[in-house]
Symmetry: C2
Subunit: 235 residues, 2 copies
DNA sequence: AAGAGTTTGTGAACGGGAGAACAAAATCGC
DNA sequence: GCGATTTTGTTCTCCCGTTCACAAACTCTT
């Protein structure tokens, strides 16, 4: 932080100490936000790093360090003001504004995503649903109507969509991704089990259900083997 | 590897060099597996680390190091035998055996998971669907019938379920998790936006859709701010 | 059979994040 | 007003994971 300040030599807007917040921290901010929201709903006014950390499922030192990247929002001897900190984190993540997303691929998963309440409640608005299957185009899901691939451009530009969600089969994912990027999307959340190639300025995050299960299976197997070895060594 | 061998002093089963494979590597093995499967389907017999890495979306040095934890399966000057390596990875992850999973919470997401083809194709068998809502119990999803919470014990023990998938609202997640663990489940995949507390021997992995979107939103905001700052500094 | 050309496996350097520990800063009790 | 107490913000150390770079090992050509 001092480096940024000294480099620019005390520029006017430097109280807003231009950060580079570690990725690992960013990934935890939404968790803290959720914990704070829960506390706020129970009318808790103040929380210590210890309390917050336990609600978020992390270590308190880590939480304090994470928050220190955002600024000095706590009070020593007291803790953090729940609502104030909540607002600061929301602002930092960018949740004080609304984001439009388009969902491509309205199969089982796409349906679930389209109806997912967690989106709207956090400032994410589904601006369009798109599917390749002519039989599905025109179908209503919630209060939205499924459009065809060809409408991607119009949807993205009309609703200023910057985030695309891909819930298609793997075979279609790269093509869909290319179209989204061409239409102006610069962040992609990919549920398809495929590796996507995108320009540098585009962010991609991947969620892969079967990979998660495979990781669990590996550990299960290890547990089982460990137990078997233990039995063998006792025999 | 030498440390393990020397420590135990050349024990009988030590060719099976008892590993501790880094978590980061384990998380990538399923990706390699998928890439290998794709190559195999195109009848590719051999692949270099460079080819495999690009198919998997990683750096070739990382891929080689990852594979070296499993054993010496490549041939210098040649590359890796696709099918052989595929089998070795599958065995390592534990995919040469079948795994039974139970899905709890058959809302939109639960439905999608129950119908997800990627499970069956990788040796994961859905042994039961469970929901709390009496109106849903008895309903058929695919060729399975939804059971009530009270049947969790029976399902888990009858089908030797070791993995539980939680797709309930956050408010129910901890209770469901406790029941699963009590029934004998020792790995949990949690889709509910809640922090779960479990005994040490239980593994939990969490998938949180709205967190992924929030991370993307943060980066979007940064991109937008960066562009705005750039414009300002040029003006 | 020997040299040229590939490609793996790994040692070593590097960077980032986690956790312990403590000094600084605030409140509270008297 | 002052010492005791609480709790933050931060420094320091350690560990894990990534990447580089190269020697070892294999094939192919002549």
């Amino acid at each position: 932080m001092t480096s940024a300040a000294s480099r620019k030599g005390g520029r006017a807007r430097d109280e807003r100490l231009e950060r580079d917040i570690p990725e690992a921290t960013i990934a935890r901010l939404p968790v803290y936000l959720r914990a704070l929201t829960a506390l706020s709903e129970r009318d808790v006014v103040t929380a210590s790093s210890e309390e917050l950390a336990s609600a978020a499922g992390v270590n308190s030192a880590k939480l304090r360090k994470d928050l220190s990247y955002l600024g000095t929002y706590g009070t020593r001897g007291v803790g953090y003001d729940v609502n104030y900190l909540r607002y600061q984190i929301a602002r930092e993540i960018g949740l004080t504004q609304d984001w439009s997303v388009v969902i491509v691929g309205i199969g089982n998963l796409g349906h679930a995503l389209a109806n997912y309440a967690g989106f709207a409640s956090r400032g994410f608005q589904v601006a369009g649903l798109v599917d390749n299957d002519p039989a599905r185009v025109g179908e209503k899901v919630g209060d939205l109507t499924i459009s065809s691939f060809d409408d991607i451009d119009a949807i993205v530009s009309n609703a200023a969509v910057s985030i695309g969600v891909i819930a298609t089969p793997a075979s279609a994912a790269q093509d869909v991704c290319d179209r989204l990027v061409a239409a102006g999307v610069s962040s992609v959340l990919n549920f398809a089990p495929a590796v996507l190639t995108v320009p540098d300025y585009v962010d991609v995050r991947k969620v892969d259900l079967s990979i998660e299960l495979q990781i669990l299976a590996y550990h299960e197997q290890r547990k089982a083997n460990g137990a078997a070895e233990l039995r063998a060594s006792l025999a």
